[in-house]
Amino acid sequence: MAEITYREALKRAMREEMQHDPNVVIWGEDIVAYNNGGAYGVTQGLAKEFAGRVRDVPISEEAIIGLGVGAAMNGMRPICEIMTVNFTLVAWDQIVNHAAKQSHMFNGLLKVPMVIRTPNGHGRTASTHSQNFDSWFASIPGLKVIAPSTPYDAKGLLKSAIRDNDPVIFLEHLQLYGTKGEVPDEEYFVPIGESVYRRRGADVTVVSWGRMAFESNKAANMLAQDGIDVELIDLRTLRPLDLTLALESIKKTNRAIVVEEGWRSVGLGAEIAASLQEQAFDYLDAPIARVAGLEVPMPYAKNLERATLPFADDVVAAVKAMMQKQY
């Protein structure tokens, strides 16, 4: 098995699926000419391999999504790239009122097999370019929402998303693009809607996804040196949400922390904590804790940005606090 980057894993998924199905196309801003393919290089080289099927489009996010919905309804499988998740706001009506609702409102007469790929992330780009809307997307019936944390899952889930017959929001992460992991050479798929144990442990359950699953794994390594044994569950898909493993884990560890990057209140972490306590109240030795982003628009200054976002050390602190506190 070769070690490749998260970015390369995504590209391989698209290449394989474009070879598999001639109706798969990629439309996005600056995915062909600029930088030989993409502001973040995910589509680099694909336009040359698949003439006419990877196209630069106008900076019109509502049209990128809307044309994607139309093309998907009419026999294509478009992958629509939105340069960063921040720009999906321009297309919110097209996503919520159209992509998500077509098949239900039109009673199954229409289907929308499209993938909207877009990265979360930050990097000294200030508040309009450093946001996380995982919770918003995950609250919408009709959408499937995916947020992989490893190259293995990025490839396997993107392949599943492209073959899926529903609209999928595929949330990549700028800070994960360069991370590496083992990815098999042979074809595989990771099913949508299944969480996974990223790490087995006995003391405390950590539930996370995306970049924070990556950070939580780092935290677990640090905590292991202090003798704290973390069980880490990576949700991978945010809608439909699979809490089976989280529930099973809590029954063993009796403690749980939900770790998310986005704003804390009304966030997906709150939904997860509520759902888990509804089903595992009698097993809990402590209130379910949350680690999340601070509720401020992201500042530009280095120290302020660092203070706003959660990292591994925040997870370490939360786990230690939970383990030390007597209830």
């Binding site: 039109f106 995950a138 293995y152 083992e182 996974v196 677990a220």
Partner: protein, 350 residues
């Protein structure tokens, strides 16, 4: 056009008119709820346009869509049943008046977010172009739609890729209650195409034959690979924006003046009767037929069942998703072993 086709245009315009009047009646009898937008006075646009297109050409419309659905082949029964919110409606009672559909003939639906469907229609046109299937899309909207972002985004893209699509604006000169002089910097809507180098035509929307000719030209352009056309059909609605509109803001004299240009009476007098294609008695017979047809539709709707409650979650996803109700609170049966094995390579490595 032969005489039979001309008489057919009349019959269709009348069917749309009578259907709307029956819908209004059913609304006042509380059989229909919510928003009900009627197209009285604008029938020549839908009938003229649909008569110029192939049966499998694609159609997207705004929410003033009853006539379009029927003209595309949805039965008056299924449309009236949808307005009633019944299981036998075009979407089984899910979409209501504003979201009719008839996919047997590629009527992709009525859309109720102003301008929201222009991009979708362009996407269907892009797929037609990609597959080279020769189909042309018609995307119908009101004059109010020409000010929203998707109008400009869709027109720019459609012209850029030379998509086979006709943007058909029913300019009834009001965006709800706001007159076009107060909502559009360019009241001549067709000139907005200039900004994108797009072909455009303005036509008398109350002249069914003129609309037919303009749409036929635009469709030919699309099929020949020459790209999109913006068609502005100027008209006026006889009723308010919807059944909820008391219609106090429009000038009574203006309404009366436009009623003199009623597209149905005009076509009957200036074409059918004048040229001796039909007699007054013929027209009365058609009228009686159409009335009976629409009465039958209302009766069908009245006798149709409500949608079954257990269909509520159907089609949120194309294949059933076991844990979709209330987002995630329902727990899937565990299959833990398989999933741990599939991700072993990643454990603890980051």
């Amino acid at each position: 056009m032969d005489n039979q086709s001309l008489i057919s245009l009349y019959r269709k315009m009348l069917l749309v008119r009578v259907f709307e009047d029956k819908s209004a009646e059913m609304y006042t009898k509380a059989r229909i709820a919510g928003f009900l937008h009627l197209t009285n006075g604008q029938e020549a646009i839908a009938v003229g346009a649909m008569s110029a297109l192939n049966a499998d050409d694609d159609l997207f419309t705004h929410y003033r869509d009853h006539g379009y659905a029927i003209l595309k082949g949805a039965s008056p029964e299924s449309v009236m049943a949808e307005l009633f919110g019944r299981a036998t409606g075009t979407t089984g009672g899910r979409g209501g008046s504003m979201h009719l559909i008839h996919m047997d003939t590629n009527y992709w639906g009525g859309y109720a977010i102003v301008g929201g469907h222009l991009t979708l229609a362009s996407g269907v046109a892009a797929a037609n172009q990609f597959h080279g299937n020769g189909r042309v899309v018609t995307c119908v909207m009101g004059d109010g739609s020409t000010n929203i972002g998707t109008f400009h985004a869709a027109l720019n893209w459609a012209q850029l890729w030379k998509l086979p699509i006709i943007f058909l604006v029913e300019n009834n000169q009001f965006a709800m209650g706001t007159t076009i002089r107060n909502h559009s910097a360019l009241p001549d809507v067709y000139r907005k195409a200039d900004g994108y180098g797009m072909a455009a035509e303005q036509v008398d929307g109350n002249d069914v034959l003129a609309v037919h000719d303009v749409i036929a030209r635009a469709a030919a352009r699309g099929r020949a690979g020459e790209g999109p056309t913006l068609v502005e059909a100027v008209t006026y609605r006889h009723r308010g924006h919807s059944m909820a509109d008391p219609d106090v803001q429009r000038d009574k004299a203006e309404i009366a003046d436009w009623k003199k240009r009623d597209p149905i009476h005009r076509f009957a007098n200036e074409v059918l009767l004048k040229r001796g294609i039909a007699s007054p008695q013929d027209l009365e017979e058609i009228s009686a037929e159409v009335e009976a047809r629409v009465d039958k539709a209302a009766e069908f709707a009245e006798n149709s069942p409500e949608p079954a409650l257990d269909t509520l979650y159907k089609h949120i996803y194309m294949e059933p998703v076991s844990n979709m109700q209330v987002g995630g609170s329902l727990i899937r049966p565990p299959q833990i072993g398989a999933r741990v094995a599939s991700s072993e390579g990643e454990n603890g490595r980051q």
